[in-house]
Symmetry: C2
Subunit: 116 residues, 2 copies
Amino acid sequence: MKVAYKIWLDHYGKAFGEGPHELLARVERTNSLHRAAHQMGMSYSKAWKLIQTIEKRLGFVLLDKKIGGPSGGGSHLTPKAKELMKRYGRFEKDIGKAIEKIYQKHFGSMKEKAWE
Amino acid sequence: MKVAYKIWLDHYGKAFGEGPHELLARVERTNSLHRAAHQMGMSYSKAWKLIQTIEKRLGFVLLDKKIGGPSGGGSHLTPKAKELMKRYGRFEKDIGKAIEKIYQKHFGSMKEKAWE
């Protein structure tokens, strides 16, 4: 037996969670929403719509998009997106630890077969 | 903004969570899986299948069913089901408190509009 969970930030709908966190981390590494989406097996249009939706729910812009130019354009995280990523990463880590600890506290001593 | 989550016990699939917890609590109050299912807007056959599935995943029996007899039959929680209910209730309460606290720790100071 194990504990499982899904957690997200909500503001009139899902505003931020594991999926967007991974997508933005990949944008940060690749400087490209195209590449980030592709790595996650997501279409560009789906990724683009996701960003639009969560920007609206979060109340701030996540990506600076540069079209063309000498460095060939690309997507970069705004300072606010970087702050959100930093906070969310720590939040997620703390949550994981706390949930496992609370699970062990209450179910660590269960003696049934499925718990072994 | 707020934090939202779903949490469950997993053993080769969802083994126990909020839905089964509520269903069993209602069986405990009404001594009837029929009435418990009805109160939750669930068909009896769906509730019955749910119980069968989670009993298999948990590895023990949840309900004692008595057919007919002087007290008219009904469903009662087994001692193991009662123990699970007690543990799960405390687990759920601790989880809720911990998640809210961790959310406040990391996002309580966010200054964006959606966080106000």
